[in-house]
Structure formats: C-alpha cells, structure tokens
C-alpha cells in the first residue's frame, strides 16, 4: 500500500488490509469490533478516501525525491529497528514465544463486571454495559468530538465556497 504509485490502487490495498484486520478480530472473538471495523473503515472511511481521490484527481506523478526524504527514511528505519528490538526483548522476557501464553477460554455467561474490571465477552450486551457504566464520560466526549468534527467540516467547506464566489 505504501509503495504503490497510484492512490486508487493504494486505497484498494488499504481496503484489503482493513478487511484482513477485521477477520483477525473475528479470530480474536471480538465480533462486534469486526463488524464495526468493516462498517466504519471499509464502509465509510475508505469510501470517503476514494471520493476525495476522484475529486482532487491526483495523478501517479508522485513526489520528487529530496534529501529530506532520505534523512527521514533513515531516521525512521533507526526508530523502527529500535522498536522491533525492544519488542523482541519484551516478548522474550515474558516468555510468550512459541505458545507460552495460551488463549484462556472465554467464560460464557460470566458476570459482566468482576470487581473494577469488565470481563471479556463475545456478546454486544457486555460491550454496551461497559460503555454505559464505566466509560460514560469518554462516550459523551467522543460524541461531542464527532459533533465538533462535523461542524468543523461544514465550516471548512462552506468558507471555501464563499471565497470562490
């Protein structure tokens, strides 16, 4: 996806990888999140991306190679290798390599709340329970964030129209 020249093919590869992540969510038994991933990302976000790609009509004439690009690439390679090494050290020390940590089975019909933490469950009901009790304030804040984003987008596209007139 990162290497493809044309933005439309990049978007297509992006859709493939998003659907792949959704299928991994299914394998991790987070069915609600998988459905949400398909709906939000592959359904809404990528359609928006494709729409904008068609709208602004960017060609495959990608950017000129600059010195900045080389420097940032090297710095990024260094950072990522640091990240990978630390990841491997952590995984090694926690003994997770080779099925050291097995998947603990999900207890069906368990209590939605044990103490202060919500127990993992495949049902949407416990998800909504967690959202409405423990995460009530973040839920409202994210709703407000969506409202602010909507108002911001409307203002952004409206102002430009007045300038062109």
């Amino acid at each position: 996806m990162v290497c493809s020249k044309h933005p439309v093919s990049a978007a297509m590869f992006m859709i493939i990888s998003l659907v792949g992540v959704a299928s991994l969510f299914v394998l991790l038994e987070a069915f609600f999140l998988a459905v949400l991933q398909i709906l939000v990302y592959a359904g809404a976000v990528m359609v928006l991306f494709l729409f904008i790609i068609m709208l602004v009509d960017v060609g495959p004439n990608a950017g000129k190679s600059s010195k900045m690009k080389l420097i940032s690439g090297l710095a990024g390679a260094f950072l990522i290798s640091l990240l990978i090494v630390s990841f491997l050290i952590i995984v090694q020390s926690s003994g997770w390599i080779g099925g050291g940590a097995n998947w603990s089975p999900i207890i069906e019909g368990a209590e939605p709340v044990i103490g202060d933490n919500l127990s993992f469950s495949t049902s949407v009901k416990s998800f909504g329970y967690g959202l409405m009790t423990k995460y009530m304030l973040p839920l409202q804040i994210s709703g407000f964030l969506l409202l602010a984003a909507m108002v911001g987008v409307i203002v952004l596209s409206k102002k430009e129209e007045q300038n062109t007139n």
């Binding site: 996806m1 990162v2 933005p7 978007a11 992006m14 990888s17 992540v21 991994l24 991790l28 038994e29 987070a30 999140l33 949400l36 939000v40 990302y41 809404a44 976000v45 928006l48 991306f49 904008i52 790609i53 602004v56 960017v58 990608a62 950017g63 600059s66 690009k69 940032s72 690439g73 990024g76 950072l79 990522i80 990978i84 990841f87 995984v91 997770w96 390599i97 050291g100 940590a101 097995n102 998947w103 999900i106 207890i107 933490n117 919500l118 127990s119 993992f120 469950s121 998800f127 967690g130 423990k134 973040p138 994210s142 964030l145 984003a149 987008v153 952004l156 596209s157 102002k159 062109t164």
Partner: protein, 102 residues
C-alpha cells in the same frame, strides 16, 4: 504445526504500525499520508484487542471503539482540510505546503 500465540498477533500489529510509519515518513502525497495514519491506528487496534483477549478484560476492546471514533473524525477533518488546500494551491503534495516559508 505451531499454534497461533498472542505474540504472533502482536508482531503483525508491529508490522502494520511500522508500514504505516514509513508511509507517513516517505510519502509526499497527503492523501496517502492520511491512509498510512489509518494503518498505524489499525495496528494499535489489533494490539489492543489481542491484549484484551489474552487478559480477558473488556477495557481494551472499549478503547478500540474510542480509537475508531477518533480516527473517523480525524479522517473527515483531514480530508476537508485537504480539499480546501487543493482548491487554494492546486496540489496535494506536502512539498507545496510552504505557506510559512515564503
């Protein structure tokens, strides 16, 4: 045949994050930059769901829900900004966004 352990999922999440990171660093097209940002968020989501599944705790999954919300809002605002910039400068490349320097 080795079974799939949580570390495999975490390694895939790391790969997704790194690919997105390199996309953000190396691409000059702002559309592709936003897409790479989405890829990074997806890697984080995968890692969070894996941790949530291994520790049998729903908090991680609920965090993923909020990350998706924020990502959708971010994409909407970013693309609106991109269209406004394109109308002004007729370009989507980040080298041309030098309003301050000249």
């Amino acid at each position: 045949m080795e079974t799939i352990s949580p570390s495999h999922y975490l390694f895939l999440a790391l790969c997704l994050f790194s690919i997105g990171f390199f996309g953000v660093l190396l691409r000059r097209n702002i559309l592709l930059l936003l897409m790479s940002l989405e890829l990074m968020l997806n890697g984080i989501n995968l890692a969070l769901v894996t941790f949530s599944r291994t520790s049998l705790n729903l908090d991680g999954s609920i965090f993923v829900f909020f990350i998706m919300t924020v990502a959708a809002a971010e994409v909407a605002v970013g693309l609106a900004l991109l269209v406004a910039l394109y109308k002004k400068r007729q370009s989507v490349f980040s080298e041309d966004m030098n309003l301050v320097s000249n």
